[in-house]
């Protein structure tokens, strides 16, 4: 169970922010092109930094708390970190931009109707 710790932290981040998309009115996951255009450069820069730091020995990961799967020397959890954290930031930013004058309870309903109509 300990080996799942880092991954569980990330799953928690996704789970806690998912309602922002589903009922909060943020549209992040549903803009895959913009999301990709954002995540690819961010992951390239910051995972690149991470790779350099890890290869240089500036930081490393406890084998106890990770699954042990690695890509280019980085634990998969660390790769996922560079997707999960930016998405959390985007969801927060988008939900803050989705303020409406409607009452909250109805906003969710209308949002879902709106979503269906768009699909």
């Amino acid at each position: 169970m300990n080996a799942w710790q880092y991954l569980l932290v990330l799953v928690l981040c996704v789970a806690v922010t998912l309602p922002l998309e589903i009922i909060g009115g943020a549209r992040v996951y549903r803009r895959p092109r913009a999301l990709l255009a954002t995540l690819v450069p961010v992951a390239a820069v910051f995972a690149g930094w991470d790779l350099i730091a890890v290869h240089g020995g500036d930081w490393w990961f406890s084998a106890r708390y990770i699954l042990g799967l690695r890509m280019a020397g980085l634990p998969v959890e660390e790769w996922l970190f560079f997707l999960v954290v930016p998405v959390c930031a985007l969801l927060t930013y988008e939900v803050l931009g989705h303020r409406t004058a409607r009452p909250r309870s109805r906003a969710g309903l209308r949002f879902r109707a709106d979503w269906r109509a768009r699909r």
Binding site: Q5, Y6, V9, C13, G25, R31, R33, A34, L35, A37, T38, L39, P41, V42, V45, F46, W49, A53, G56, G57, D58, W59, W60, F61, S62, Y65, I66, F82, V85, P86, C88, A89, L90, T92, Y93, L96, G97, H98, R99, T100, A101, R102, D114
Partner: protein, 128 residues
């Protein structure tokens, strides 16, 4: 004491801000919504990063010479906040740019991309 991470964590936010001001120019740094997002994410970072870096059972270890040694709050190396700020800022600036490009493509007008600061999204209410 300044290690390589200390230097990187100090330079990265400056580099991203410079990139935004000089090249991306989304105007995001002048928006209240951006700073509120940063505050919220950094607050959550304390919980998440606090767990990852706690010295009692660290998931991430740091070479002492790579960091300043200032670890606060809890055992979080302060450098992590520079890293996070830079990453969040780049994320949000690129996102704004991507949305603007999509809107510009949708309306088929270059004006939408130019009229960047407070352009509204169709189907959504006012934003701050």
């Amino acid at each position: 004491m300044t290690g390589t991470y200390t230097i990187g964590a100090a330079c990265a936010p400056a580099a991203v801000v410079a990139l935004e001001l000089a090249a991306l120019r989304t105007g995001i740094l002048r928006r209240r919504r951006f700073w509120v997002t940063v505050a919220i994410i950094l607050a959550f970072q304390v919980a998440v990063d606090g767990w990852l870096t706690k010295l009692s059972a660290p998931i991430v270890h740091y070479r002492p010479a790579a960091i300043s040694g200032v670890r606060w709050p809890w055992d979080i190396p302060v450098e992590d906040f520079g890293f996070a700020f830079a990453m969040i800022t780049l994320t949000l600036a690129l996102w704004e740019r991507a949305l603007r490009r999509e809107r510009a493509a949708d309306t088929g007008s270059a004006a939408a991309a130019g009229n960047s600061l407070e352009s509204s999204r169709p189907g959504h209410g006012a934003r701050s």
